[in-house]
């Protein structure tokens, strides 16, 4: 009997509470963002808040299901789950339903399902499985390439379905691989390209090159290993080359709407007339969401009292732009609280991951944290204008059954794995 009671206590209740807080608060905001008129009917299934309530009830069942399956199952069947998931993604090309330009949905009667949401969990399982294999050494190029393939396949599949947002999320696995020993050169080049991109677009190639030269000179002089002059010059040339390449990609390869988003993000446009024009076109959502957040002030206008939310000024507010509702109705205090809960959830999962004794569980847990982090970073960053517009939902918060269930599965598989930690020996 002692063993029986322990079964419930060995689940990490902190994670579960944080999870429930986000789902619950998320629903309140969906209610606010989608209710129409004065009267509230919580079980009005023609409205997003009603549907979401049903999704949440389903979620509870899903949790029980995920937790009741033997932990070993997930590791053992990870390859199959991955392959099934990939097949479901490919099937979209044949049977997919087009919504807002992306063919990411299967439609069953009135229900729709988005397999790309679940593919993240499947990929996390597959990556964990592959890396934890005794024969895999991530420091070897061959194994690196194989790992990359596991990640790139779903990423490319969703990209082909015009779901750029979900593709970007797969970058999360970089954190996982780096943790597991991916050479530093990837990190360095990644950061370098990011910095160079921003620099060259914002300040132009010349200033970027000059800055790179200054930094390299300082590094050459300070470095105790004495970075050779030749190497430094080569690096500088590389930087300049990259800088030109980035300019070229931005100007000639990116599509106009992508250019617009980057130009908006980096505030490249200074002409006030064009800025006004932008606010009416592609920057409309961002502008409205920023206005909604700004209008919230310190304490917010109160639950169901947001004038911009009630007036549905922010398009897609109950899905990708749900955080603007938090901003308007709950103000700085509420929004900060949401940010803190997310940070705590991610850190908690990370902390648990590090405690795992099996490498599979650790890699999987790390992937979960990284995926949530990526969503959190891109979604909230986008809604507040810190990141170019990329449409992905805020985990557990945004309206949508597939997303909610996929994250539930993602997190609760890990909670299950974690609860089994003691039996790993």
């Amino acid at each position: 009997m002692v063993r029986e009671t322990n079964r419930y206590f060995k689940f990490d209740w902190i994670t579960i509470i944080l999870f429930l807080l986000l789902v619950g608060f998320g629903w309140l905001n969906i209610l606010s963002a989608s209710h129409v008129g004065e009267s509230l009917d919580y079980f009005n299934f023609s409205q997003p808040y009603g549907k979401q309530l049903v999704f949440i009830l389903f979620t509870l069942g899903l949790i029980v299901l995920v937790l009741s399956i033997e932990a070993k199952f997930y590791e053992r069947f990870s390859s199959i789950i991955y392959i099934l998931s990939m097949l479901s993604l490919m099937g979209l090309f044949l049977f997919g339903k087009n919504v807002n330009g992306a063919t990411s949905w299967y439609a069953f009667g009135g229900m729709t399902l988005q397999p790309s949401e679940f593919a993240k969990a499947a990929t996390a399982l597959a990556v964990a499985k592959y890396i934890s294999d005794l024969n895999t050494d991530i420091k070897r190029l061959k194994d690196q390439i194989r790992t990359f393939i596991i990640i790139i396949v779903p990423a490319v599949l969703v990209l082909l379905q015009n779901d750029t947002g979900s593709t970007v999320v797969y970058a999360a696995f970089f954190f996982v691989l780096y943790r597991e020993g991916l050479p530093k050169i990837y990190l360095i080049s990644g950061v370098l390209i990011l910095v160079l991109s921003v620099m060259s677009l914002k300040f132009g190639v010349l200033i970027t090159a000059l800055l790179a030269a200054v930094v390299l000179t300082v590094l050459t002089l300070l470095s105790n290993k004495k970075l050779s002059i030749l190497k430094s010059i080569l690096l500088l040339l590389l930087c300049v080359g990259l800088s030109f390449a980035i300019k070229y990609v931005y100007q000639d390869i990116l599509k106009p709407h992508q250019q617009d988003r980057i130009s908006l993000w980096l505030r490249l446009e200074q002409d006030p007339e064009k800025l006004e024009q932008m606010k009416k076109t592609f920057a409309y959502n961002l502008n409205e969401s920023e206005k909604a957040i700004r209008s919230g002030g310190v304490t917010g206008k109160g639950f169901l009292e947001g004038t911009r939310t009630t007036g549905k000024f922010v398009p897609e507010q109950h899905t990708d732009y749900i955080f603007s509702t938090v901003g308007e109705e709950w103000g700085f205090l509420g929004s900060t609280l949401v940010v803190i809960i997310f940070v705590l959830l991610i850190l908690r999962i990370l902390h648990l991951a590090e405690l795992q004794k099996s490498q599979f569980s650790r890699v999987y847990g790390y992937s979960v944290a990284a995926i949530i982090f990526m969503h959190f970073l891109i979604n909230i960053g986008m809604v507040m204008g810190l990141i170019p517009t990329i449409g992905i939902p805020l985990p557990l918060f945004s309206y949508g059954g597939s997303g909610l269930w996929a994250f539930t599965i993602l997190i609760f598989i890990f909670i299950k794995l974690d609860s089994n930690r003691i039996n790993e020996w």
Binding site: E290, I293, T307, R308, K312, I346, L347, F373, M384
Partner: protein, 645 residues
Amino acid sequence: MRKFLLFLSVIFIGFIFIGRLFYLQVYTSTEHNLFEDNAIRKVYDYPKRGFVYDRNGQLLVANQPSYDVMVIPREVKPLDTLEFCSLLKIDKATFIKTFEKAYHYSPRLPSVFVAQLSKEDYAVLQEKMRKYQGFYIQKRSLRHYQTTIGANVLGDIGEVGYRDIKDDPYYIMGDLKGKQGVEASYENTLRGVKGIKFIQKDRFNRDIGPYKEGKFDTVPQQGKDITITIDAKLQAYGELLMQNKRGGVIAIEPSSGEILAMIAAPSYNPNILVGRNRSANFTKLFRDTIGKPLFNRSLQGVYEPGSPFKLMNALIALQEGVLTPKETVTCYRGYRYGNRFMKCHCNVGTVNNMITGIQRSCNAYFATAYRKILDKNGNASDGINNWSTHAKSFGLGEFLNNDLYVGQKGRIPDRDYYKHVYPKTFYSTYTISNAIGQGEVATTPIQLANMIAAIANRGFYYTPHIIKNIEGETLPEQFTAPKYTTIDRENFEPVIEGMFQVYKKGTASMLQVKDIDICGKTGTVENFAIIDGKKTQLTDHSIFVAFAPKDNPKIALAVFVENGYWGSRFAGKIASLMIEKHIKGFITRTDLEDWLLRYGLEEEYAKPYSGKPFNINDKTIVHPVDESEYQHLKQRLKELENPGV
């Protein structure tokens, strides 16, 4: 180390987000303001604009409903356009054009389809409106003038412009605001305060319902009625007399400073600035740069006062003790100073004391007086400053600070004024033209009328004002407290006697009115215009100031008639008639009245624009107006006398 990359990234991003939130919601956030929140529609409820009554309680300005046909293009269903167009009195092309314009503005929002229907059209249309879906009738309120007079007094209301909105956030686009006259100066009293309803809307600008159940809504506050000091009958009479002339007339009640009549000619019927044709008519008035009907000559016209200003010099001379009433000056058809000469109409050797000096308007007498004032202490610089102070105590040379929407300072020079022309030496002869009210002295008709009111009161005046009563308010002390001049009471009597003699035996002896002791002073002022780059003299302005009765005065006035030649020719006649009208209520000098209706000065005014050489003053004759115009004016005079007919 590798463990910490994601760990630190999460914390870092967490801080960045909180920082951004702080920036958006605390640092750059403004207090939530319903008026600036464009998610809330503000629906305004306009109060009744206050009525305007004249001093005898006659209603001058009321309101009238006006009906606009509005359209919401998206809701329009196919309709019988032919019938609809004929009801609206438009053609089909206009219908299509207007509809497209409205659709282009917004398919969802109402636009004005046809503005300001007449009451008759409205009555017919209202019956059939239900047949035309997507169209509805919006009621608005416009001014309704109960009279055709006093356009310059009453002013008008018009839509606010961008600047009005910027200056006073009370106004929003489409609001009406006083633009001229009492509508402008008593705007805040008349307009009331509009009520407001807050309505939550969605991003398509559609109303969803009252914001917070109307908790913040307010009800409108009605505008207050006002009574103005104008006597509508006197005003109408004066305007009639000023037909076919240009100039200004101001009549003031000396015992209160109330403005009895304020006439600017040419004027216009205030009704033309109401309704559908407002903007076309306003443009027409605005573009008339020759007649300048929007220019309020009685308030804004700055003229050299001419001979009436001699009264001022006489008063100052007495006050300064440089002349006694009995002291005489001999006139030799003018006044010689140095090697220059100022002409006068007196015969050679005429001996004038103060009373006959005023009566005959002797230039030599007043040149002497002026020089004596300036040279009193042997220093003309001090002298002119002292002289200036006295004149300014009559409200000349400064704004009167009253409740009229426009005004001018006029000009009373002092030593400082001349510092550039005469930097070093300054003698009294340099500015001798001021002695006879020309040179650098300039006044508006209202200032001059006020000066006469101060003389009539023997030493003080009330700031001339137009407001008599505001519903439930008392007038500010500014209008009820007397302002004293620097001249002692006893010094007025000789001057008033002189003015009385002007009527008895002097320049206005032809203008006497039976049983009324009028004190007056004529004025004839040279004036010039630039024609083809050359300074050209025009026929003199005809000026007259007067008050009556001599004891216990009831009316003081100043009349300016541009290019009317000598003072009693036009201005004096008008002054006499208005005095009689005000005091007796009827006219015995119908000969004067008839002459004024029959003669106009349009020929005189056309001369500078004719492009041909022309004669002035004694080489001209005054022309009668067209017979039809004369009959028309006679008819209007009759209507004034018997308003029932």
